[in-house]
Subunit: 100 residues, 2 copies
DNA sequence: AGTTTAGTTCGAATTTATTCGAACTGTCGT
DNA sequence: ACGACAGTTCGAATAAATTCGAACTAAACT
């Protein structure tokens, strides 16, 4: 069975409640803050006190809500914050979340 | 046994993740939007397709996260959005959430 | 005192999220 | 071809949220 990365919602499909839910978890919020600070990063660099299957779950939530986009780069999966899409759909939200 | 309204966190105690979580539910977000639009309101005016015990649960989540403040006024409980506290602690967040 | 109104609290059922190990896929290096 | 590496997927356990009816409190009115 090939690996299926869950489909990321298009900009138009972004849902406020799903985005807020994804961001309402300390681990995921930490990931998002680090992506905002350092730019594109593979999953592996995040030092989280959880096994990789748990980390993978949190990335899935971030992807499915549309907060993060993932592209394959060799054997790594590179993650970026969907800043522009989020900003277009929910102006000011991400900035406010990252400040707090 | 007297009625205990759960304690509302002080401005300093507001937690980003708790606030985002509280706002990540359609019903609660609807309540918050209506409070923002119409100002202080008793629980009863919100037309939500849920029995009152469920509504009460959602108000509790909003209070415990610090999104809403509640005061007694006769037999009603009046709810207000804690706009100033939220704005002081998380500038721009509420505005962004209400716009979306 | 009794009734109505507003909303909470309790308890239990259901649903949904999180967690983790183990097995897997795909890519790279040797 | 064979490991090693990065990360996903599966499956099952645990934990947490939501839901609701029923019983309750407290204020207001008659």
């Amino acid at each position: 069975m090939p690996i299926f990365l869950p489909k990321e919602p298009s900009k138009k499909e972004l849902l406020m409640t799903a985005v807020l839910y994804a961001l309402s978890d300390e681990i995921r919020l930490g990931i998002v803050r680090q992506l905002a600070a350092k730019g594109e990063q593979p999953c592996g660099v995040f030092e989280v006190d959880r096994p990789k299957s748990s980390l993978s779950h949190h990335f899935r939530v971030l992807r499915e809500s549309g907060v993060v986009a993932t592209r394959k780069d060799g054997k790594a999966l590179m993650n970026t914050l969907r800043q522009e899409d989020l900003d277009a759909r929910f102006p000011g939200l991400l900035k406010a979340v990252l400040k707090g």
